[in-house]
C-alpha cells in the first residue's frame, strides 16, 4: 500500500504527501496543500507521468462509484476512479462494451482520459477521449467546471490527454458501444515480412474492428518484421461466459534477473512463432483473454527485477514508406533487448485532445528491461528517427525523452500549458519542460521544482515469462 510507483517501476519517486479524494461532493481544499499536486489512480502508466516526486499525490481511487447508467442509450456516468474492470462487470452482461480499451482493464476512467488511451480499434473508433461526452474538473482554486465538447470546450480538449495537469477529473460520462455478446471472434495469421503486416492491416481495416500485430523483436535481415497478425470482432454470443477468470496469482517478489536471458527468450520466440504462426487460424476467445492477456498475472511488472523496465511506444506516419519502421525494428533487434514488439496501424480519426499521442501512422510498442545507459542511448537514437519522420512518442509510457524531443513531438505543448492548473505538475512535466522557454506560457510551477535525476540507470533485467506467454495475443498498443 505504501507504493505510489509507476508500472515500469522506473524512475522511483517519493511524494511529500498523499491526500485521498473520496467524495465528489466534498473534495478537500486543494489550495491549502503543499504543491505541486498530481492525481494518481491505478499507476498503470509506465514512466513518470503518474509520478510527482516531492509533491502531493492526490489519490483518486476512493472516487470509485457509479453515478448513472442508461442501459438503453449506453451512456455511463461514473466517478473518475472507477476501473475498467468494474465497468466491464457492469456493462458486458447488459450488452455493452467500452468504446475503447487499452491492453489492461486495471485502469481508471480518469487515467484513461488523462492519457487519452487507444486500443486495437483505433482505426474505427479513435481514442477514448472521442467517446467522453462530459466530465467535471476540480481546479486548485476550488472551482468545479463541467466540461464537454460544447461547454468549457478548450479546457475539455486540454484535459483529454492532459496528463492530469489541468485539474482533478471528479467524474465523467462516456458513450458505450453495443455488443452482441462477450466473445471475440479472432483470426491470427502469420506474416513473414513487414510489408505483409501492412497489407494485412490494410485488408483487415475494412473487416475487423480490432487489429494488432505481434512482431518478432529478435530477428534481423531476411526475417526482420515477421510476426503474427490478429484481427478480431465481437462475436454473436450465446451469452455464456467462457472468458478466463481473473487470476489471484501474484508474483511474490522480484524475480532474479538471470532467470530469463536473451537466449531463453529467443528459444521461446521461435517456439511461439512456429506454433501460433503456422498458418492463419480462427478462434473464439473470451473478451478478457483477447484484450487483457497480461492481466492474468498480477504484478507481472515485478518480474523485471528491482531496476524496473521501460516501455517505448512511438507512432510514425508511413506515407514515405516503411524505411523508418524497418530501421527502428532493426535497432531494437540489434540491441537484443526485446523479444517482441506490438504494432498497430492507427487510423485518421482525430481526438478532441490537445496533447493526444495517437495520429495516423503505425505505432510500435516494446518492453525493454532497464539495462542502463546502453538502452537510453538506443532510445535516444530511435527518438531522432521518430522526429525525422514527424512522429511522436507516448508520454504514458515514457520515462526518458528529452525536452527537445518532447518539443518536437508536441509543438502544441505551449498552447496546452496555458490550461495547466498553476498548482499542478508531475515528474514527467518537470522533466520534459525543463529548459524549454518559460515565456511560452509554461506556468512557473512547472519549472519551480527541480527535476529529480533518474536514480539509477545501471543494471540488467529480463522480460518475464508472463509477458512472453501473453505476447501471443499482443498485449499493448
Amino acid at each position: 500500500m505504501s507504493g505510489y510507483e509507476s508500472w515500469g517501476r522506473f524512475p522511483r519517486a517519493t511524494p511529500r504527501a498523499v491526500v485521498p479524494i473520496r467524495w465528489r461532493d466534498e473534495p478537500p481544499s486543494l489550495a491549502d496543500l503543499p504543491g505541486p499536486l498530481l492525481p494518481y489512480a491505478r499507476g498503470r502508466s509506465y514512466g513518470d507521468s503518474c509520478l510527482n516526486d516531492g509533491g502531493t499525490v492526490l489519490d483518486v481511487n476512493g472516487l470509485a462509484r457509479f453515478i448513472a447508467f442508461d442501459a438503453d442509450r449506453g451512456l455511463l456516468r461514473a466517478e473518475a476512479g472507477v476501473g475498467f474492470d468494474a465497468i466491464l462487470n457492469l456493462i458486458v452482461p447488459r450488452g455493452w462494451f467500452l468504446p475503447v480499451t487499452p491492453g489492461t482493464k486495471f485502469v481508471s476512467i480518469g487515467g484513461a482520459i488523462a492519457n487519452d488511451v487507444h486500443g486495437k480499434n483505433h482505426h474505427r473508433a479513435g481514442t477514448f477521449g472521442c467517446h467522453v461526452t462530459q466530465l467535471e474538473l476540480l481546479r486548485s482554486d476550488g472551482t468545479r467546471l463541467v466540461c464537454s465538447p460544447t461547454a468549457n470546450a478548450e479546457l475539455f480538449q486540454a484535459t483529454i490527454g492532459g496528463l492530469g495537469l489541468t485539474g482533478v477529473i471528479l467524474w465523467a460520462e462516456i458513450a458505450l458501444k453495443p455488443i452482441p455478446g462477450p466473445q471475440i471472434e479472432l483470426r491470427a495469421s502469420r506474416f513473414g515480412r513487414l510489408e505483409d503486416f501492412f497489407a494485412l492491416s490494410e485488408a483487415a481495416d475494412a473487416d475487423d474492428e480490432y487489429t494488432a500485430g505481434w512482431i518478432d523483436g529478435m530477428s534481423r535481415g531476411r526475417r526482420l518484421g515477421r510476426g503474427v497478425f490478429l484481427g478480431g470482432n465481437h462475436a454473436r454470443g450465446d451469452g455464456t461466459w467462457r472468458g478466463a477468470h481473473p487470476s489471484r496469482l501474484r508474483l511474490p517478489m522480484d524475480v532474479p534477473e538471470w532467470v530469463l536471458n536473451p537466449l531463453s527468450i529467443r528459444v521461446f520466440n521461435e517456439v511461439q512463432y512456429a506454433v501460433l504462426g503456422r498458418k492463419s487460424a480462427r478462434a473464439f476467445a473470451g473478451y478478457e483473454s483477447f484484450f487483457y492477456p497480461l492481466d492474468v498475472v498480477h504484478n507481472w511488472n515485478r518480474a523485471y527485477g528491482k531496476r524496473g523496465f521501460l516501455q517505448y511506444q512511438c507512432v510514425v506516419p508511413f506515407d514515405d514508406g516503411l524505411a523508418v519502421v524497418r530501421e527502428i525494428l532493426d535497432r531494437i533487434a540489434a540491441s537484443r533487448s526485446a523479444y517482441f514488439v506490438v504494432g498497430k496501424v492507427f487510423g485518421s480519426i482525430r481526438s478532441p485532445g490537445m496533447l493526444s499521442f495517437p495520429r495516423r501512422g503505425v505505432t510500435l510498442a516494446v518492453d525493454i528491461p532497464n539495462r542502463g545507459p546502453e538502452i537510453f542511448a538506443l532510445l535516444d537514437a530511435i527518438d531522432a528517427l521518430v522526429i525525422e519522420a514527424r512522429g511522436a512518442v507516448y508520454p504514458a509510457k515514457d520515462a526518458r525523452m528529452s525536452p527537445r524531443s518532447f518539443e518536437a513531438f508536441y509543438p502544441q505543448w505551449a498552447a496546452f500549458a496555458r490550461h495547466v492548473d498553476p498548482a499542478f505538475s508531475s515528474s514527467f512535466w518537470r522533466r520534459v519542460t525543463a529548459g524549454l522557454g518559460a515565456s511560452d506560457g509554461v506556468p512557473a510551477k512547472a519549472q519551480a521544482t527541480a527535476p529529480s535525476a533518474p536514480a539509477s540507470v545501471a543494471g540488467a533485467g529480463g522480460p518475464s515469462a508472463a509477458t512472453a506467454a501473453a505476447g501471443a495475443l499482443g498485449g499493448g498498443a
Binding site: 500500500m1 485521498p20 448513472a68 457492469l90
Partner: protein, 250 residues
C-alpha cells in the same frame, strides 16, 4: 444469496458501502441511513446502478437516538419485512488527543456505544416482532481487550459486545440472529492517519467476509478469521505484561 431486504445504518462507511454493494449486486432492496446527505446520495446512486432492487435513503445523525425509531419505521415502510439490519457507524478518535478531555471521551462513547445500544434495542424489537431476521453489528478487535492505543474506543466496543451477547440469547427464541462482527484493522477513512502494517485489509475484503458471516448467521465473526487466534493470544498476555506493552492498531 437470494434477494434480501436490508437496512444499513452508517451506510457511508467504507466497510458498510462494500457490504451494501454486494447485497445490491445480488438484487437486494436497501434502505441506507447516514448523516451526510451528499455522501449518502453518492453511495445510493452507485448501488442503484449496480443493483436491480430499490434503494431508499434516510438522513440521520445516529447519535440523535430520539430519531432512530423514525428510521426503523421508514425502513419497515420501504422494505416490508427486514431481513438484515447492519449497524456500521462509528468513530475512532486519537486516544492521545482525547485522553484529558472528558467531553471528547464521552462523545466517543456516545458514537460507538450509547447510540449503538439504543438502536440495537429498538431494532431488536422490530425483528422480534417479525419473528425472524438478522441483526448484525460491527464491533472491533479493539473491544476484546483494552489497550493503551485506543481504550476509549475499545471500551465502547466492549460494551456493545456484551450487549449483543445478551440480546442474542433473548432473540434466539424468536428466530432472530445477532451477528457480531469484529474486524481487525481495515484501510478506510477511519484509519487514514494510522501507519498501515501487514495486517491491514481492504474494505472490499472486509465487506465480502461480513456478507459471508451474515449469510451463515455466525454469532461472532472475526474479520478476517485469523484475528480470533491473535486475540486469543493477546487475551493470554498477563495484565502485568500488557501494561508495559504499547500495542497499536485499530
Amino acid at each position: 444469496m437470494t434477494a434480501e431486504r436490508v437496512l444499513v445504518a452508517g451506510a457511508t462507511s467504507a466497510i458498510a458501502a462494500a457490504v451494501a454493494r454486494r447485497y445490491a449486486e445480488a438484487g437486494a432492496d436497501l434502505v441506507l441511513a447516514a448523516r451526510d446527505a451528499g455522501k449518502l446520495s453518492a453511495v445510493a446512486d452507485d448501488l442503484r446502478v449496480r443493483g436491480t432492487g430499490r434503494v431508499e435513503t434516510f438522513v440521520i445523525d445516529m447519535v440523535d437516538t430520539a430519531r432512530q425509531a423514525e428510521l426503523l419505521a421508514a425502513a419497515q415502510a420501504a422494505l416490508g419485512r427486514i431481513d438484515v439490519v447492519l449497524v456500521a457507524w462509528g468513530t475512532l478518535p486519537d486516544q492521545a488527543a482525547i485522553e484529558h478531555d472528558v467531553a471528547a471521551t464521552l462523545a466517543c462513547w456516545e458514537a460507538n456505544a450509547t447510540s449503538v445500544v439504543a438502536f440495537l434495542a429498538q431494532a431488536a424489537d422490530v425483528l422480534e416482532a417479525q419473528r425472524g431476521g438478522c441483526l448484525a453489528v460491527i464491533t472491533s478487535v479493539a473491544g476484546v481487550r483494552g489497550r493503551r492505543a485506543n481504550y476509549t474506543y475499545g471500551a465502547a466496543k466492549a460494551g456493545v459486545i456484551a450487549f449483543a451477547q445478551g440480546l442474542r440469547a433473548r432473540l434466539f427464541a424468536a428466530g432472530v440472529a445477532v451477528v457480531e462482527l469484529r474486524p481487525g484493522p481495515v484501510d478506510t477513512p477511519m484509519t487514514a492517519r494510522l501507519r498501515k502494517g501487514p495486517l491491514f485489509i481492504g474494505p472490499e475484503r472486509a465487506g465480502a467476509l461480513i456478507v459471508g458471516a451474515i449469510r451463515r448467521r455466525r454469532d461472532i465473526a472475526y474479520i478476517p478469521g485469523y484475528w480470533r487466534w491473535i486475540m486469543l493470544a493477546v487475551a493470554l498476555v498477563p495484565e502485568g505484561v500488557m501494561k508495559r506493552l504499547n500495542l497499536s492498531a485499530g
